[in-house]
């Protein structure tokens, strides 16, 4: 039957971003040492304070490594990583300074075209300003000039170090200190690039800012660092997307993202994460060990994290909000999907410090195949957080009976006036739901995709429109071959 063969075709369709770009790369020799860190810093002509900061981070990391303080509390398993066997810096070889897109290696532009990234000016209509990070360096930032007219800085992290050293120095590590955790220490020592955005007082950023991360080189870790600061009354919406080639070995991605929102500022941070997840048997794939944290420093400031996590062999991330300012608001909307042998331990931390702070957590987990996932979330209400409120909702959807879903909510409430609510559900896509859809003429794959998208609706509607569409497609694709 034609329907049956369609199903097979769908199930066989593979990760479509798994190609490798043949481009000349420049590497720093494998291994991690003070020399590696100095080399990276020198490549970027960094000021002394930054090199010193990196070296302190390295010392901290080496200390933790020696004491074997690799975090083990997450519900994930993987062989221990040899930190001396990977490259810490890989960059497309090209002229050191790029004046315009015309100077970018055409092979690189073709890669981004295949990924569907709006690098070129023709995409101006889409209203998205893009910074693209290829392995370790940022290769192009579009619309920079237009943004600068409004005083908005949006550029690669390396460039920010040169052009806005005071801002970088003031805020770098102020939300996630280098000593914060094992992977944050590693990132702080060797981060090679990333994105930087600063929106000045009272300015509402007129377009979505977006960064596209791509791992291309083999045996290379990607360690990017993103810093976004919204000054008083400013607002910005930022989106990151990620892909990587298909390889049999695992690759490490340990990023750090720091957000700072001052009085009345608002930052909306959205992620569509589609790193290579490994094959059906669990070979290869990205280890996505990421620290993301936002500080609502100012009164009435607002930070929201929206994430759609469909890729990576292992995801370990907890985008968090520190609600310092009175009346500040934090939100976390998450869809995490694990298929085949993917593992995810993800969630958030909402730290209520200021008065009348509010937070919302909506987490939707979908497990298929032999996928395993855990929601892990901390809601902490400090003694001075009078009138703090939190509402958490964690729903899990299971497809098949070989996958697993776990929920680990942690509550620490030190103020009696706080109101904290937690709801959790686990459901299975029922045979009766599928049959109902099929009886109306929908294929089984379309039915699953429809049910899953319905399940995730509360989160998807938080994404900017065009990315919501992309995310919906991605959810459908990631589930291929998971039913029947």
């Amino acid at each position: 039957m034609s329907e049956a063969s369609d199903l097979e075709k769908l199930a066989r369709r593979e990760y479509q971003y798994g190609f490798v770009t043949d481009i000349e790369q420049e590497y720093i020799p494998k291994g991690l040492s003070a020399d590696t860190v100095r080399l990276i810093s020198a490549k970027k002509s960094e000021p002394v304070w930054l090199l010193e900061w990196r070296l302190k981070a390295l010392a901290r990391f080496e200390e933790m490594l020696a004491e074997n303080r690799v975090p083990t509390w997450a519900q994930i398993t993987y062989p221990s990583i040899d930190y001396q066997s990977m490259y810490y810096y890989a960059a497309p070889k090209q002229k050191p300074k790029l004046e315009s897109l015309d100077e970018v290696d055409p092979e690189l532009l073709r890669t981004y075209e295949r990924l569907g990234i709006p690098l070129l000016e023709q995409k101006r209509l889409a209203g998205v300003a893009v910074d693209a990070v290829f392995d370790s360096v940022s290769v192009a930032t579009t619309y920079k000039a237009e943004l600068e007219k409004q005083g908005i800085a949006f550029c690669s992290f390396s460039e920010a170090v040169q052009r806005y050293p005071e801002l970088v120095r003031k805020y770098l590590g102020s939300v996630v200190p280098y000593s914060d955790n094992f992977f944050a220490a590693l990132n702080s020592a060797v981060f090679s690039d990333g994105s930087f955005a600063y929106v000045p007082k009272g300015v509402r950023c007129p377009m979505e800012l977006s960064t596209y991360f791509r791992i291309n080189a083999q045996e290379t870790g990607q360690f990017e660092r993103t810093l976004i600061v919204a000054d008083e009354g400013a607002s910005v919406s930022y989106l990151e997307g990620c892909t990587a080639p298909q390889r049999d070995e695992n690759q490490l991605h340990a990023a750090v993202v720091e957000l700072v929102a001052l009085d009345d500022a608002e930052i909306k941070y959205s992620t569509v994460q589609n790193w290579y997840p490994g094959d059906a048997e669990g070979r290869g794939g990205i280890y996505n060990f990421v620290t993301k944290r936002g500080a609502c420093r100012g009164r009435r400031s607002k930070i929201s994290w929206t994430q759609v996590e469909t890729g990576s062999a292992i995801t370990w991330k907890y985008p968090s909000c520190i609600l310092q300012g009175d009346d500040s608001v934090g939100a976390f909307y998450s869809v995490a999907m694990t298929n085949h042998r993917q593992q995810a331990d993800t969630g958030t931390k909402m730290i209520h410090i200021g008065k009348n702070t509010r937070s919302t957590i909506v987490s939707k987990g979908i497990s298929a195949g032999r996928g395993q996932q855990s929601y892990r979330g901390l809601v902490k209400i400090g003694p001075k957080a009078h009138g703090a409120r939190n509402h958490s909702q964690c729903d899990s959807l299971l497809l098949g009976d070989q996958c697993g879903a776990h929920t680990f909510p942690y509550l620490e409430v030190k103020n009696p006036t706080a109101i904290v609510e937690h709801e959790a559900t686990t459901s299975k896509i029922g045979e009766d739901q599928l049959f109902y859809c099929q009886q109306r003429g929908l294929s089984q794959e379309d039915a699953v995709s429809m049910i899953v998208n319905g399940f995730c609706k509360e989160v998807l509607r938080e994404l900017p429109m065009e990315f919501a569409v992309e995310a919906q497609k991605l959810l459908g694709l990631s589930l291929e071959g998971s039913v029947g």
Partner: protein, 260 residues
């Protein structure tokens, strides 16, 4: 005589691992409405499930031909696209999927199979409003999640609305009247009657004669322990209403009234 749409021959099937259907023979021609009655557990819903391809209904013997094609070899969605519609006794809820979106996806899947262009949002909206009016379906129910929080009557009306949109060739209504008050019953029957035509056939499964006052059948069959034990005209339903099912066992069927 009109075209034979459905031909069931010696159909036996298990449900939940137990034999339920023990040899069903039934022929439906275009233009006909047949009623299927019988006590609880006699196999009515299993027969509906067997025709639609419900998982868990396992065919153990017999044949079903639909417009000359081997129906049992087709996946459920392939049967649906060829014009077989099952109005569910217990319609499922799908949270987060709007009724409109679901109806449009289903309609366009069926249209694609028929080689018709998909309807765009505006064309669909015009059509669905027109059909919703027939079953007095409030507009706000179209925007809500599919069947979520619908009352029993609203769910059944939604089934009939789907049927009106998809315009099936063979409609199987599985106790669409159960749990309906008399007004809802009238509305549902109006929807079903709106679809009666010389090209399509319907198999109406019901416990009660009262539905058949509104949807007048050409033939009535009584199912008992997985077999059709009596067939007749619409007067058979009236007799069942009066006398129950018990007498059927005592009185052997007249020869001419055997299932055909």
């Amino acid at each position: 005589m009109s075209e034979v749409l459905l031909e069931i021959e010696g159909l036996e099937a298990n449900a939940g691992g137990k034999p339920i259907l023990r040899g069903i023979d039934l022929v439906l021609r275009a233009g006909e409405v047949h009623a299927l009655m019988g006590p609880n557990g006699s196999g009515k819903s299993t027969l509906a499930g067997a025709l639609a391809g419900r998982p868990g209904v396992e065919i153990t013997a017999g044949k079903v031909r639909y417009r000359g094609e081997d129906l049992l070899a087709l996946a459920p969605e392939a049967r649906a696209r060829r014009g077989i519609f099952l109005a569910f006794q217990y319609p499922v809820e799908i949270p987060g999927v709007s009724n409109n979106y679901f109806l449009k996806s289903a309609l366009n899947a069926v249209r694609q199979h028929r080689g018709e262009e998909p309807l765009d949002a505006m064309e669909f909206l015009t059509l669905v409003r027109e059909k919703a009016a027939v079953v007095e379906m409030p507009k706000e129910l179209l925007g809500r999640s599919l069947n979520e929080g619908f009352s029993g009557g609203e769910k059944k009306r939604n089934e009939v609305l789907q049927m009106l949109l998809l315009e099936p060739t063979l409609a199987v209504l599985d106790e669409t009247d159960s749990g309906l008050d008399i007004d809802a019953l009238r509305i549902v029957a109006r929807g079903v009657n709106a679809l009666r035509s010389a090209e399509r056939a319907m198999l109406v499964i019901t416990h009660y004669q009262r539905l058949l006052d509104h949807i007048v059948p050409d033939r009535v069959h009584v199912l008992s322990e997985g077999r059709i034990v009596r067939s007749g005209g619409k007067e058979l339903a009236l007799e069942l209403e009066k006398r129950g099912y018990g007498w059927l066992e005592k009185e052997p069927p007249p020869r001419e009234a055997a299932a055909r």
